[in-house]
């Protein structure tokens, strides 16, 4: 008996320790600068023990000039490449946009503004583009930016050795050749004309031909462009510094000449709460992608600000699998739409920080049909009546049946609760239960399971970010190519509209077609648009003039630390 008490205490202590470790393991994922729990902060490698009283030096520099400073920006994911022709992720563009420039820029309405090109001419069939370039632009390595450099960049893009990403190469499908007409005039020839090339050129960055030849496939570790910032190093963080020679900002920016910030450092902080916490503790000056619940608390925190920009493209939408016979019934689709209270879902999960999507395309794009706004279809009684009319009657267990078969939907979500998409599934399940429809939710981020489920699902959500509507609608979403679209839609009317709009050079006419498509989707309840994703940045209040471009990427050129 002598050892019993000791062993009991020991085992109890061990048990507590084990639990403490579990809890700490949980907490380490989610530390925060303001967490009152001391264990939380100390368990986290990147936490700062919640000390707000001692601000980090990098975040709070002594201002010598009126405008200047050093900015540390926390990214949510790791950029795949710093070579803009190879970079396939949006997060990479958030870095490369500071290093590189394009021929044209987009103003806040998507209109074109001169950038590295002073002016341009487009042939009537949109297949020949001629640009007059600025003659004062130099790459960071001192070599001049000229017509040869433009031609070099397009040839580089389509050179297999570059390993360019399909995201960029597909923007200029049909590219034939580039010709330097004189030192600062360049002509680009395309086999098929498209009105969207100019929009896409605003996303195309120019690299230094000399540096590209020098570094080869190591260019991605040594990016050299013409941008307002030049590359310093990429170890753990990506460090950039001001380009003192920069004098070719497009006129839509707030000033001319070099950028205000002396240095711009990107830190990769994958964990949501750590990222938000490091702004709260002033360890970084700004951090991207803030979860809704933190947006509210950050807005209420003195000394901090939350900046946001709605993203463009296709909003997060629930798609039906039209390979399943049940979805080919208009009344069933209308009933499901009437059974889902999208307004409540969006308000509950995003606490008012994400706007609800009303149409299949996002507001801000020309062609968006604002007349669909506030057209709420939620009406559970109508939903029940529609299902009754179709012969789906409530069975003994409260779920509807027809010919002995239960009305059961397989809801598949392949995200690790990104933007609370799993939670949407849970709420949809509860709401449809009210009208007697059973929903079985499957969450899997595993590739193999996804392949299996992508065929078997009844409901699945997805979204697509892009400023170019034609490629968004076409890119396998609603357009049936080779018998497949992500929405599992094979609607000749929709396909014809998309074909039509792809070759429509008159923006006003294209707008009419876009509106027809949106009305058609709404009338026929073909999809359930849920929310529009806002790109959010949390920043300390000293960060001034951090702006966003048309597509929602941050622009650091005018930014300074007060």
């Amino acid at each position: 008996m002598k050892n019993n008490l000791a062993s009991r205490i020991l085992s109890a202590t061990l048990a507590i320790l084990l639990l403490a470790l579990t809890v700490a393991g949980c907490a380490a994922d989610k530390p925060s600068g303001t967490a009152s729990d001391a264990g939380t902060a100390s368990a986290a490698p990147e936490a700062t023990n919640g000390t707000r009283a001692v601000p980090d030096e990098t975040a709070d520099p002594a201002p010598i000039d009126a405008k200047g400073g050093n900015l540390v920006f926390a990214l949510a994911t790791t950029p795949d490449h710093l070579d803009p022709h190879r970079a396939g992720l949006a997060v990479s563009t958030r870095v490369t946009n500071a290093l590189f420039d394009s021929l044209v820029a987009l103003d806040e309405n998507g209109g074109f503004v001169p950038y590295l090109a002073k002016s341009w001419e487009v042939s009537d069939d949109y297949s020949v583009y001629t640009f007059k370039l600025r003659d004062d632009v130099k790459f960071h390595d001192g070599t001049p930016f000229n017509a040869e450099a433009v031609v070099f960049n397009f040839e580089r893009l389509y050179n297999p050795e570059t390993q360019a990403t399909g995201n960029i190469t597909s923007l200029f499908s049909g590219f034939l050749s580039g010709e330097a007409l004189d030192e600062f005039t360049v002509q680009l020839n395309f086999s098929v004309g498209s009105p969207s090339f100019l929009t896409n050129l605003a996303r195309f960055a120019f690299v230094s031909p000399a540096a590209s030849d020098k570094y080869g496939d190591q260019f991605t570790r040594n990016p050299v462009g013409t941008g307002a910032f030049r590359f310093v190093s990429y170890d753990e963080d990506i460090k950039l510094e001001r380009n003192p020679d920069y004098n070719w900002a497009p006129e839509i920016r707030g000033h001319q000449g070099p950028a205000y910030l002396e240095t711009l450092t990107y830190k990769i902080v994958a964990e949501e709460a750590t990222r938000v916490g490091s702004v709260e503790s002033r360890e970084v000056s700004a951090a991207e992608t803030v979860p809704p619940q933190n947006v509210l608390s950050l807005r209420a925190t003195p000394g901090l600000q939350v900046l946001e920009k709605l993203t463009l493209g296709l909003p997060y939408t629930l798609f039906y699998n039209f390979d399943k016979p049940i979805w080919n019934n208009l009344n069933v689709r209308k009933a499901i739409r009437a059974g889902v209270d999208i307004g409540t879902i969006v308000q509950t999960l995003y606490l008012g920080t994400y706007p609800r999507a009303w149409s299949i395309i996002s507001p801000g794009l020309s062609g968006y049909d604002a007349s669909l706004e506030n057209k709420d279809h939620y009406d559970p009684e109508a939903a029940k009546a529609l299902l009754e009319a179709e012969g789906w009657l409530v069975g003994a267990d409260g779920y509807r049946e027809k010919d002995g078969e239960r009305l059961k939907l397989h809801y598949f979500d392949n995200s690790p609760n990104r933007e609370k998409r799993n939670d949407i599934a849970v709420m949809v399940r509860e709401q449809l239960k009210e009208i007697g429809v059973e929903v079985e939710v499957e969450i899997s981020t595993d590739g193999y399971n996804q392949l299996v489920s992508i065929r078997g699902f009844d409901v699945m959500g997805n979204s697509f970010l892009s400023g170019d509507l034609v490629s968004s609608l076409r890119g396998n979403f609603y357009y049936t190519e080779g018998g497949f679209s992500i929405a599992h839609l094979n609607d000749p009317k929709v396909n014809a509209w998309i074909d039509q709009v792809a070759s429509e050079f008159d923006p006003a006419k294209a707008e009419v077609i876009y509106k027809e498509i949106q009305q058609y989707f709404d009338e026929n309840a073909l999809t359930l648009p849920i929310y529009v994703f806002p790109y959010t940045v949390a920043a300390i209040e000293e960060v001034t003039d951090l702006n966003f471009d048309f597509l929602g990427y941050p622009v650091f050129y005018d930014t300074y630390i007060k």
Binding site: A15, L19, Q293, S297, T348, D423, R429, E442
Partner: protein
């Protein structure tokens, strides 16, 4: 002095027992304990701090966290009990046979178990859970497979020590059949440390299951189990800590209670 010590540990055991009984009640008749339906989303009452109306507060759906925890106890317990039973029975039988038969069988068995033991349990469980589609069954399978080595080794050691006792030698010499000796004399006399271990295993199974759910390898059911609840609430740690704190405390308290009872059981069964 002795009296005081005893009463302290007795009190602990009684409290633990009561707590376990309460959790069992929750698992068997959750509707009796929980004040609200675990799926009722009161969107007017989002992220409310703990109060008298909502003992553990409300979550981001407006669900009552206390009710969800009460209802979630069923799956957590089923996972715990089922995996201890599966792992314990398979591991126990394997270990007992290996120990009793000895020789080549024992050697092969030992190598097999040693290979299994080189892989950390949680990692093995993770791999199994990730390879199978998420379901209650695959979680139970993952935990039980990873717990086989510990059960079988304990059983084997116990069987070997009993096998060499004089009364077994005697039964052997009077010609009792091997199977009878194995079941009647060896097995029946080696189960007590095994029982203690299974009790403690219940606690660790629930912990591992919570861990798996926490890492997102659990299942999205109507009512989340404790680990899933922890995992889902962690995004709200800063703004609504109670979604995580209370399920975490319940897991802690439950596993602690199981350990205290398991210890007590050892004192009673094996007072050495």
């Amino acid at each position: 002095m002795k009296k005081l010590k005893l009463s302290l540990s007795d009190a602990l055991a009684v409290i633990s027992g009561l707590f376990i009984a309460f959790i069992l009640l929750c698992a068997i008749a959750p509707g009796f304990v929980a004040p609200y339906s675990p799926t009722y989303m009161n969107v007017a009452d989002l992220l409310q701090a703990p109060s008298l109306t909502h003992l553990f507060g409300t979550d981001y759906f407006g669900r009552d966290v206390f009710s969800v925890v009460v209802y979630g106890s069923r799956d957590s317990l089923i996972i715990g009990v089922a995996s201890v039973l599966t792992g314990g029975i398979i591991g126990g039988i394997l270990g007992a046979l290996a120990g009793f038969i000895g020789g080549v069988v024992d050697t092969i068995f030992n190598r097999f178990i040693e290979i299994l033991m080189t892989i950390p349990g949680i990692l093995l469980a993770l791999a199994i859970a990730a390879a199978l589609r998420p379901s209650l069954f695959s979680i139970v399978l993952a935990i039980s497979v990873s717990s086989i080595p510990q059960y079988s080794r304990v059983m084997r050691g116990q069987v070997i020590s009993i096998k060499n006792r004089p009364y077994i030698t005697v039964s052997n010499s009077i010609g009792t059949r091997g199977a009878v000796i194995f079941v009647k004399h060896v097995l029946l006399n080696s189960w007590s440390p095994f029982l203690v271990m299974a009790t403690l295993g219940l606690g660790s199974s629930i912990l591992v299951a919570s861990g798996l759910s926490f890492l997102g390898l659990g299942i999205i059911k109507e009512i989340p189990d404790w680990g899933t609840l922890l995992s889902q609430g962690r995004g709200y740690l800063v703004v609504a800590h109670w979604i995580c704190t209370f399920p975490g405390l319940v897991i802690t308290a439950f596993v602690l209670a199981i350990n205290i009872i398991g210890d007590r059981l050892r004192d009673v069964i094996d007072p050495k």
